[in-house]
Symmetry: C2
Subunit: 413 residues, 2 copies
């Protein structure tokens, strides 16, 4: 009864984590995900032009294998970024050791790192713990949970999400009328330096697993679509990391085939991604408020996102939220400098259902006491209607607090 | 001896300020600058698409007069922005009253406002104090200083700058060999919501005065060039205000003509603008460090500015500075997501003369103790060389502190 793994964990994968001595805290800091056979893979990496060493290796390995992965090797506590040639060498040493341990090619290993930038990764610490770790991997939910724990850094909670889809696709081996179950599981970390711009856009690390049978190129299409409405719609501090990575692996162990355009699978993947993205925002460094922005009436969806990002990145808007201050003038300023097409005299703003601004000026019903009370809630929503077109988006962000300053003004020292 | 006004204050202008009751603090909050005769004018306004009412009126008035101004009417305590029709009406009422008081056309009045957004300006308070204020205007340096005091909001100090130029231009009436003196004076306010993007780009208000004889179109060319290397090269919080304004008036009272391409005049104007811009950054809300960025080796100057802005707007970089943390990895991340053309392996970073990063990795000479000590200074410089081309820029910004959060999390409430 207590072990849900037979219901939620995608088949065809094993998991494990251990202490390699990379986190100053002494907690677990190295995790692996091992596919029983080479899994179809789709990945997205940060748009930052400074990319951590493992991301460069990952791209090279995916090309070499035609997008297949056997082992995902993830360390926390060191980003292995801006570490020059020693950084590249450390990532390769990790891959070589993992390949040797699990009997695959080095190109079938997908390394990931998160933590401090600019300090060479001590790969020998990872190489030393691999043999013992390999003995302890397993396919139960508690093994999966070990990964979630090991990969976090400034995160305060582990972040996982699960979905199941029943398919009756005709390609399935066997009678078409018998539904088959596909599982999707996601695990991620991220709290600060969060403004993923993934290409198709990610110090956010996200691992999505499914036991569906899906070709890599089809997998990629699903991943891009899901990212666009989830990880690319969140910002904590507007800093796009050098290490962001989203990896989707399909083991095929369910035997259920998924071709292009499967709405149920797409919806389930979006649900898992959106859940993880919101968990990242909800664990944003030092936050006291999570804010859901609804932008309507933009010329296009991308213009709506432009408005949302300007708001989500404004220190003045974010500090007002921290102070539960219904200072909507700062929202107006951010909308104005977003670059989106607007008519200042047609902008409407509401906090939840409370009218705040109408036609660019204070709404007649504006009630400062009610507005103040509304944004004292730990989670609230702000709706903005530009009345310019059909463009719309949802976007999730946080306030900017004393605690954020405390966390980030004393990180490496 | 103590009155320097005969040396520094441009001739042809009078100044005054009074209490209109707009600041909650009860300090002076309404100032005027009156030209003895219509002065040549050049102005630049914020690139924010939400523009305060006075900016709309200003643009209209400058068009109507062929860029001439008699009276500048500046209030602090209320931005008169996002206040709908009542905001426009309030600005017009101020102009009408000032025109009546000083015997000019309403179109010759240039209104400015700074303060809280979204609250209609009570113009009647300004109209009520104008007659008495008109009796007390004067051309001495203490009158000029009154303007500097009245226009500040969250600023902690008044900001002024002065320059003198000797010209022997042949157009001057009289013997060409006799040098004539031109004076330039500037006064400004600005502390938060500072990331002027003036068009040609400015809650920063800047008033520049000279007694040179200069045609408006020539004046405009000098102003644009000066803004580009001063006010458009600073950021406190990355929020571009709805009210930013830079106004340059030339009274002609010196009798000295300035045509296009006068290097001495351009250099003096640049000096005044750069001094004011650095004073704004130096008074940035809550700062504990002022940072001068030197970007070298960009493909172009605009690419260099792009890199500087990404760094200046990064909460992670700014909080590291607040903590005197030499975390140069955050600089690398910001450079990487700036969008500028870079090669991560060719980036060099130094703090002052201290090598920090070379070829994208930690410099061999990196000395964390020395780096930490260097950025404990209240003002320090960071140099970044991209080795991509001839593009360069200087840029001034601040750190992000607890005090910034305190100031902005409790502003209107």
């Amino acid at each position: 009864m207590s072990d849900l793994s037979q219901f939620v964990i995608p088949r065809g994968f094993r998991f494990g984590a251990t202490k390699a001595g990379l986190k100053q805290s002494g907690r677990t800091d190295f995790a692996i995900i091992v596919a029983d056979a080479p899994a179809s893979a789709a990945a997205a990496f940060t748009a930052n032009r400074v990319k951590a060493a493992p991301l460069l290796i990952d791209a090279e390995h995916l090309r070499a294998t035609g997008n297949h992965v056997r082992v995902v090797a993830i360390n926390a506590g060191n980003a292995n970024c801006a570490a020059g040639r020693p950084g590249i060498d450390a990532a390769r040493a990790t891959c070589a050791a993992a390949a040797s341990t699990f009997g695959c090619k080095p190109e079938e290993v997908f390394p990931s790192s998160t933590g401090v930038i600019g300090v060479p990764l001590p790969a020998e610490k990872i190489v030393a713990v691999l043999p013992e770790l390999a003995k302890n991997v397993g396919s139960q939910s508690d093994h999966f949970q070990q990964v979630a724990e090991a990969i976090i850094t400034t995160d305060t909670v582990e972040k996982t999400a699960f979905a199941r889809v029943e398919v009756t696709a005709p390609e399935i081996d066997g009678p078409a009328e018998i539904p088959q179950e596909i599982r999707i599981a996601g695990v991620c970390k991220g709290s600060g330096m969060i403004h993923p711009q993934l290409v198709p856009h990610a110090t956010m690390l996200v691992y999505l697993l499914t036991d569906a049978v899906i070709e890599p190129e089809v997998l990629d299409t699903y991943l891009r679509a899901a990212i666009e409405v989830s990880f690319n719609r969140i910002s904590v501090d507007g800093d796009t990391s050098t290490n962001d990575t989203v990896l989707l692996l399909a083991s095929g162990a369910s035997g259920a085939h998924i071709g292009p355009g499967n709405r149920e699978f797409a919806a389930a993947l979006n649900q898992v991604c959106t859940s993880l993205a919101r968990q990242v925002v909800g664990d944003g460094e030092g936050l006291s408020h999570v804010v859901e922005l609804h932008i309507h009436g933009a010329v296009s969806n991308s213009e709506a996102v432009r408005v949302a990002k300007a708001i989500a990145h404004s220190p003045l808007v974010k500090t007002a939220w921290a102070g539960c201050d219904p200072n909507w003038g700062r929202l107006m300023a951010a909308i104005g400098y977003s670059g989106a097409q607007i008519d200042p005299e047609r902008i409407d703003i509401s906090f939840g259902d409370l009218p705040i601004c109408r036609n660019g000026g204070r709404a007649p019903e504006f009630d400062e006491t009610a507005a103040h009370a509304y944004i004292q809630q730990p989670e609230f929503s702000i709706s903005i209607d530009l009345h310019q077109g059909p463009g719309t988006c949802k976007y999730w962000t946080t306030d900017l607090t004393h605690e954020y300053i405390r966390i980030n003004a004393d990180y490496t020292t």
